[in-house]
């Protein structure tokens, strides 16, 4: 009896999901290449068996937190909890439909953790990853952040060798600059290393080292 109810619920949810997918289908061609990598047939009608299989273990767990967690790149183990959002997906962005559909594959293959590197790439659009290690680019970015923080005019001389103190920054400004750099590059600077930063070049070198380490 319970099985019947679950199947019925899944049918309704699946119906909504396909509606959502067709509604947003124009997005799938360009933005969701990784989708095809995993050969997910969920667009077609044969997703039903997958749906039923998937719903079994996680029907009772509904964690509201799992969707934002998915986007913030924390453990993909929370994938399992997102199955109960199916009905609400029709009014959500296609992003969430994508992640939910790709969850099938994760469960059926019993994969958890970092199994979708390309999915992570797409689910983190707001993070700036400096992929090329070109030093001038990093130095330029650091210079622009320093300029913005210290409210310097555009044509002021901020080079790799300029010290923060000579630019008019006190220790509080330096901390704020380091925080801005952390956010910009997605890194985390240690206390001790942060205190040794004195010039723009120091900051750029530290950033490159931390990016490399990641």
């Amino acid at each position: 009896m319970r099985l019947l109810l679950m199947v019925a619920g899944e049918l309704i949810n699946w119906h909504f999901q396909t509606q959502a997918l067709t509604k947003h289908s124009q997005f799938f061609d360009t933005n969701y290449k990784p989708f095809s990598l995993y050969n997910i047939p969920s667009h077609s009608s044969c997703s039903l068996p997958l749906v039923v299989f998937y719903s079994f273990p996680v029907f009772n767990s509904s964690s509201q937190i799992s969707f934002p967690l998915l986007f913030s790149q924390s453990s993909m183990a929370s994938i399992a909890g997102s199955s109960t959002f199916m009905a609400s997906l029709s009014c959500h962005k296609p992003n969430q439909a994508l992640t939910r559909a790709s969850n099938f594959n994760a469960v059926s293959l019993a994969i958890n953790g970092k199994s979708f590197p390309s999915l992570k790439l797409h689910s983190a659009p707001s993070r700036l990853r400096v992929s090329c290690a070109a030093k001038p680019e990093t130095v330029d970015k650091v210079c622009s952040i320093v300029r913005k923080q210290l409210a310097l005019p555009e044509d002021s001389a901020v080079t790799g060798e300029s010290k923060f103190s000579s630019l008019g920054a006190d220790s509080l400004d330096t901390v704020e600059i380091v925080m801005g750099l952390e956010e910009e590059f997605g890194i985390s600077v240690e206390e001790e290393s942060a205190q040794t930063i004195a010039t723009v070049q120091d900051a750029a070198d530290l950033i490159e080292k931390l990016i490399e380490k990641k």
């Binding site: 509201q64 934002p68 707001s126 509080l172 901390v175 925080m179």
Partner: protein
């Protein structure tokens, strides 16, 4: 009164500043995040010119208790994070 507590060192104050800014980052709510950053920056700048050790120590203690509040609240807010992000976050 109790024996004089040594005023916090420069490094401690900078470290408190950094911790407060880091705790501000944990908030899922854009408004609270911005407010925390703004408030810590403003208050640390205002108190920069303090010279009396007891007032420096008082401000430091105040800052530390605020840090505890911010840390606790960041945890509580993240338990009930809204599904729809603020427009200011999305524009990025």
């Amino acid at each position: 009164m109790a024996t004089a507590v040594p005023p916090p060192s420069r490094a401690e104050i900078i470290s408190l500043f950094r911790s407060l800014l880091r705790s501000a980052r944990e908030f899922p709510d854009y408004n609270i995040r911005e407010y925390t950053k703004r408030r810590t920056i403003d208050s640390f700048r205002d108190n920069k010119s303090l010279s009396d050790p007891s007032s420096i120590a008082a401000a430091f203690t105040d800052g530390k208790s605020q840090l505890q509040v911010a840390k606790r609240q960041a945890v509580v807010y993240s338990l009930y994070a809204p599904k729809v992000k603020s427009i200011m976050d999305i524009k990025h």
